[in-house]
Amino acid sequence: MCVVVRFYNVTKIYKNNSVALNNVTLHIKKGEFIFLVGPSGAGKTTLTRLIFREDLPTRGQIVFNGKNVVRLRPGEIPFHRRKIGMVFQDFRLLPQRTIYDNVAFALQVTGASNHWIKKLAPEALKVVGLEGKAKMYPEQLSGGEQQRACIARAIVNNPLLLIADEPTGNLDPGTSRELMKLFQEINGRGTTIIMATHAWDIVDSMKKRVVALSGGKVVRDEESGVYGHGA
């Protein structure tokens, strides 16, 4: 079984001496769907930031797709990030660009040719069901649709890993369930997904692997687990 992400005894201490991660060892296999749960400040976001190489761990090693993330040279970081799609609670779409252009932008920054952009961007929009709204601007779309656009942008260059940080945090329960179906579909195509969330009902209903963090430590790691109140 191929492992996409490995954490070896990773500790992250911020400048104000707060311990965000404390000696975390974790393996994430290719094609897995993992929920990161735990109270605010438990270290969920720090964990995703370290994988994405937005920050370096204080101690320990992180291996992504066979490469040590800690030892990446500055010039290698952009290419590392192209293998990871990011989905945020606040969408982070460019307001002055159309939905199509927002998705195409992800390919543009990698230097893809126009030919590829014209082929891949509509495909990604189709996967998320926004092919009819390509020419609209983010503000003309509902929150759920904006999040779909954000997902299309994250998957358009076919990443190995999709990291979603509270993707349903701003959405109503019905829209959230729709989005979860979409994430499951993307996971079904072989993309590994790490999702940090507080939505316990979704976690409980999906029966996926659950990694619970508390005070920077992994307190629970279960296959087809539940959110677990008081964890």
């Binding site: 952009p78 590392h80 982070r92 460019l94 932008f105």
Partner: protein, 294 residues
């Protein structure tokens, strides 16, 4: 990079210029003013050095003779002068000829000589040296000859002119450096504003895996476009102003040796354009490196 990237860079740079239109305009203006001044000074320098060259080629030593010399003594002196090391040409100017020359050069003001009872001018020799640098030594040697009352040469004029051109160079260089720095500063401010107005976009580019150069390039291009536009404007204005001045001088002061050939002026215009590019690149590099944490 594919052609989509090249198109992207250009589009971003132009969008940004339009968005910060007033600041962009001010930056272009300062580049234009500073390079216009530099252009004027460069053309002035080219022309003064051409003027000095002409003067030097005309530089000659005037050897004034005592009034009691007879013809054979004058001829003997002429032979001596001819064999003096460094001398290339010796011409005798009689006092009658000298007066005639003076009257011609005075032109309309020759009335002032009417009060003279007799010709006050002495006989003289016009001595040309093989090079300008030899003139002081040759003049000193001639002064030792019998029958020579005075030796005058135009070196002082040349030296004074050289001092004037040196001052022109110093003041022009100082003002160009000051204005150039102002231009660099203004362009870096413009680019800083663009970086700030697009920081959200820059953040998104970073997490989409854009390389540092991909993020930086549009900003660098923006600065270079600003610098080059200013330089182009300055070159055009300098060209127009200079053409007008040449025409005016050709009519009013035709004896001045004005440099009008394009092969001598082309380096000036080319230099201005290159300098504009460099100013733009310097200004944007400063902001890109200071404010673009990628």
């Amino acid at each position: 990079m594919g052609h989509s990237a090249a198109g992207y860079y250009f589009k971003e740079a132009v969008n940004s210029l339009v968005r910060n239109n007033w600041l962009s305009l001010a930056s272009v203006g300062v580049v234009t003013v500073s390079l216009f001044i530099l252009g004027c000074f460069l053309l002035a320098a080219i022309n003064t050095s051409a003027f000095i060259n002409t003067l030097e080629s005309m530089l000659e030593i005037n050897v004034f003779l005592e009034s009691n010399l007879n013809k054979s003594e004058i001829n003997h002196l002429k032979e001596q002068l001819k064999f003096l090391p460094g001398v290339s040409e010796v011409e005798f100017v009689s006092r009658e000829k000298a007066l005639e020359n003076m009257l011609t050069s005075l032109g309309n003001e020759k009335d002032i000589t009417e009060n003279l009872d007799e010709n006050p001018l002495p006989d003289s020799f016009r001595v040309k040296t093989k090079s300008v640098e030899l003139a002081p030594q040759v003049a000193a040697n001639i002064y030792k000859f019998n029958g020579v009352s005075n030796v005058i040469y135009g070196q002082e004029v040349v030296e004074r002119l050289l001092i004037v051109t040196r001052w022109i160079r110093i003041t022009s260089l100082t003002s160009v450096v000051v204005l150039g720095l102002a231009a660099v500063f203004l362009i870096s401010t413009t680019i800083r504003v663009s970086v700030f107005s697009r920081r959200k976009e820059i953040g998104i580019m970073k997490f989409l895996g854009a390389t540092n150069w991909f993020v930086r390039f549009p900003f660098l291009l923006e600065g270079v476009v600003l610098g080059f536009s200013g330089a182009l404007l300055a070159s055009i204005i300098v060209y127009l102003v200079y053409t007008i001045i040449i025409d005016k001088i050709a009519v009013t002061m035709p004896f001045l040796p004005i440099v009008g050939q394009m092969d001598k002026l082309a380096p000036v215009y080319l230099g201005l354009l290159v300098l504009g590019l460099l100013i733009g690149a310097a200004g944007s590099s400063i902001s890109v490196h200071r404010f673009l944490k990628v």
